[in-house]
Symmetry: C2
Subunit: 338 residues, 2 copies
Amino acid sequence: MNVHEPERRLVTLSDVARAAGVGESTVSRVLRNQGSFSKRTQDRVAEAVARLGYVPNRLAGMLAGSGSTAGAKLVGIIIPSLTNIVFPDLLRGANAALDRDGFQSVIGVSDYDPAREEALIGALLSWRPAGLIVTGLEHTAGARARLRASGIRIVEMIDTDGDGLDIVVGFSNRGVGCDSARHLLARGYRRIGYVGHDIALDLRAAKRLAGFRETLREAGHPLAETEIAPGPSSAAAGRAALGRLLARRPDLDAVYFSNDDMALGGYFHCLAEGVAVPGRLALFGFNALDIAAAMPQPLTTIRTPRLEIGAVAVERLAADGPAETVDLGYELIAGATA
Amino acid sequence: MNVHEPERRLVTLSDVARAAGVGESTVSRVLRNQGSFSKRTQDRVAEAVARLGYVPNRLAGMLAGSGSTAGAKLVGIIIPSLTNIVFPDLLRGANAALDRDGFQSVIGVSDYDPAREEALIGALLSWRPAGLIVTGLEHTAGARARLRASGIRIVEMIDTDGDGLDIVVGFSNRGVGCDSARHLLARGYRRIGYVGHDIALDLRAAKRLAGFRETLREAGHPLAETEIAPGPSSAAAGRAALGRLLARRPDLDAVYFSNDDMALGGYFHCLAEGVAVPGRLALFGFNALDIAAAMPQPLTTIRTPRLEIGAVAVERLAADGPAETVDLGYELIAGATA
DNA sequence: AATCAGATTGGCAGCGCTGCCAAACCCTGT
DNA sequence: ACAGGGTTTGGCAGCGCTGCCAATCTGATT
């Protein structure tokens, strides 16, 4: 814009060194509080930093520091979506642990698209992170290859039903489905339906459904009917889908939802249509959203350790233990709807 | 771990150059698809990249590229929270635009703490981003100084009620409060209360309340009573707070909530206690969450252009227009609760 | 065959910081 | 006054990549 602008170069570490009358490495040591230096030097450096408004350049720092022990204090995180509150929760858990350990994070959102995930993996690896946290166990062959070739720590979170590349932190989605089914059976429900969202997008939901279905079948009361809403989960989708399901099968006495969003929508349908819950129809969700607990009748659902998963994922990345699967479990919340 | 491990150095650009039998700068040009090179060279480079599994080092790239025109394709984003779906939505909008323009983002979460925001600004600036997107207009003096000194583009999003540092993208929260009040007045409600969450944390909510309160006062029907739930907004907090409010003032005929989460909780309270909505009590929210539209009676609320705000924020960062305020407006959704 | 503009290409100096190592100091004890 | 062991310090070579510029090559033109 202004041709005469003196092309203000940003303040660099060597500017600080000059201003403080010390060497560059001394400034570097003081700023990282590493190695030894006198109090006097420290004060002079601090003064110069403040006076010049110096902001360290992490890019340069990480570049220079790489290759050696110190390494990058950076982790990449890939989640499939920001819309479902579950994933921001994972980030929240991870963030807390990240801050504690002085790490930074770079985040990628795959929109449930495996190809996009693969691309994101490449993008994040190019930051040379100390580790990568991805969601789920299913990845394209290319993604798997890249992760393996990267040579860094990998954490796959949320799902423990399958083989992981390195560290896996989560719980058994299959188990969730089984336990959900057992609960409904134990309460005496027999004509049970399922309302889900597009399962191609959400492999974990598919695993829950598989466990649920199998448990019902083994008990001799096979899943009576399913209704899949197109697109991602939402209360609106759940409400509409339950409507369609009941239109086809008015005899159902319980419905299992792919998650609480859908279940909440189902509950709204029941309220709107005067379907007594759980007398006439029982509802069962998944995730234990805060909002589900505030309903007039608290939703019966499964609490998943979302924050813990994020936190443990980061911990394991930082530590350098062996490859392993950490099952954080889940908890059935017996609400008033089933 | 393994002492004998050949200290596998990662593949670098010069390895690729050697493998492809071309110069480093040629590889660089091909990879960035910039400058000119022959088809044959391109193929050879592509082959070498694939064979060696080369992953470019962005750190080095950005370091080298800085100082010149090209500059960093990186923006920093600071939001106060991940819990409230509003902020992930902003990220979502920003992400879409970011991808389109080939930018990467680094995200910071301030937990509504101004001091933490200031620290995050420092942390993000050290990535030498092309621009920074922050939330709201209120920052500590130190934060403001750092932003100004950074010399990069700054976007403050969501709130247009005040002076911005550079670019401001959002809507008038004060206006939202005013229009909400006018709507309730127009519908004939006179004994109006307010249910909010900790306002020290959420300056935007405070501005809405101020506009709401003033409009009511001017109309001669001042706000009858307020109830502030401690902590962040949630359905549970809204439900409990409405309970307390009505216990004190059973005569209220309408309640304005700090947002839809709180309003949803309020609605649940009404359902649970048999308070007729809107006959006995009208409810008015803010944000137009998807879930609010799926309620048996759609919530009357205000739709905010969250995705657009994120997208426009990024666009303005990338373009280099003048400092200005972009008001994206909002829309009153007349539901069935008020 | 010589000439010339334009297309391709390679070499190399940094970008700002950290790691390594030698140099300079600072105290003791003798 | 001098050696010996720790504490501070500064110099400088990279980290891997891009920008700049000169060198080389290409094909068409004269």
